[in-house]
């Protein structure tokens, strides 16, 4: 099942099945509904949120809402797909023409943090409801996530090769998932009024991460306790 990695075109199928063209007004409205649904899922959690809550939040009737999507699950799918497609698309644009492997890892971190800080609610919804979707929708979202994870793995592997370091797959996996933890966890603590912005944060985190992994040729194998 191939995943689309472009920003999903939000287009409805009319009840008869044919695609409705010239649907920019429809798309705009659906985008607004997605933003509103993100807020509602963020506040109440996906499981506890109802389409009725969304109706209150948007000021639209239930019937009016169901004109735009057919289930709460579909909304979660669209939010997740849009979020990860966008971040992946931007990453590709920013990596284009950059060949220095260290700089490419920095770009990954900056791109991720910038998007996360600008879309904190969507990211929390994405993190917390990662496993909710099942069937075809779940497969598609998992495919985009996997693609993003593999992009990061490849960047770190390229860096290791360029530096002549011999990292095993397990080591690269833990390094990359530690990085995801560092950058994803910010939704729990970042205060835009007092904490650094995406630029300064990504510099510090990239410094930490790169120094952390680049000195790891001769690992000390002592364990702390156990």
């Amino acid at each position: 099942m191939a995943s689309s990695v472009s920003t999903p075109r939000l287009r409805r199928s009319a009840p008869g099945g044919e695609t409705v063209e010239h649907d920019s007004r429809f798309d705009r409205r659906l985008t607004e509904i997605l933003a509103c649904a993100t807020d509602v899922f963020y506040e109440k959690g996906y499981a506890a949120a109802s389409v009725r809550d969304l109706s209150r939040a948007t000021g639209m009737s239930l019937a009016g809402l169901y004109h735009y999507f057919d289930s709460k699950e579909k909304l979660l799918y669209l939010i997740q797909k849009q979020t990860f497609s966008t971040i992946l698309e931007r990453l590709r644009e920013r990596l284009e023409g950059v060949t220095d492997p260290e700089q490419r890892v920095r770009i990954f971190i900056h791109n991720h943090l910038e998007y996360f800080l600008a879309n904190k609610k969507a990211m929390k919804v994405f993190s917390h409801e990662a496993d909710v979707l099942t069937g075809e929708a779940g497969s598609q979202v998992r495919a985009i996530k996997r693609e993003y994870y593999r992009a990061c793995i490849a960047l770190v592997e390229d860096l290791g090769r360029a530096k002549g370091l011999e990292w095993g797959p397990a080591e690269v996996r833990i390094a990359v998932l530690s990085l995801f933890g560092m950058v994803n966890w910010i939704y729990t603590w970042h205060n835009p009024r007092t904490d650094a912005d995406a630029g300064a944060l990504s510099t510090q985190m990239a410094d930490m991460f790169l120094q952390g992994i680049l000195k790891r040729k001769k690992r000390t194998h002592k364990t702390t306790q156990s």
Copy 2:
């Protein structure tokens, strides 16, 4: 509001207000209920879970359950308090007598990962429902969390001083919260069948973290983009 950092003694007040003594059977049962509630909150999310779900999961009647706690919020409070009190208490025991600042940071990481991996469900519930509790219960849980966060800040500050590094408070904050991200995120990815155990994981993560922060005397201040 002082936080109790010992493992909370699970004791009920009888309806009349007097404490019931010799309540080891009561405590045992409540501990079982907490474990069951953790599963239910883990599966359904706190907001969507009902005491009725818990009744199904425990095989106890609603009336029987309400004998042990007076609200769903109380259960979440007990789970969160027990979790963080335990991890903090173990940390103190393990740090006792250890003076090397680097080793103390390693102990923090190992203690955290060991507890997290052994209690993944509780940790997910803790992470996801961090802001649900309000009033006195919320204050108590936040106080224990703050104490734990400050313990880690102090360990990192001690290390910086020992190494003659001049870290500002913002830098230490981001380093510590990055570390929390690294170690907390594991509940989203760790597969006990294929991934390293707490000992090996904490060695790699501690290496990464320590190398990442200890080389940071002369920071490069270049930003990646923006």
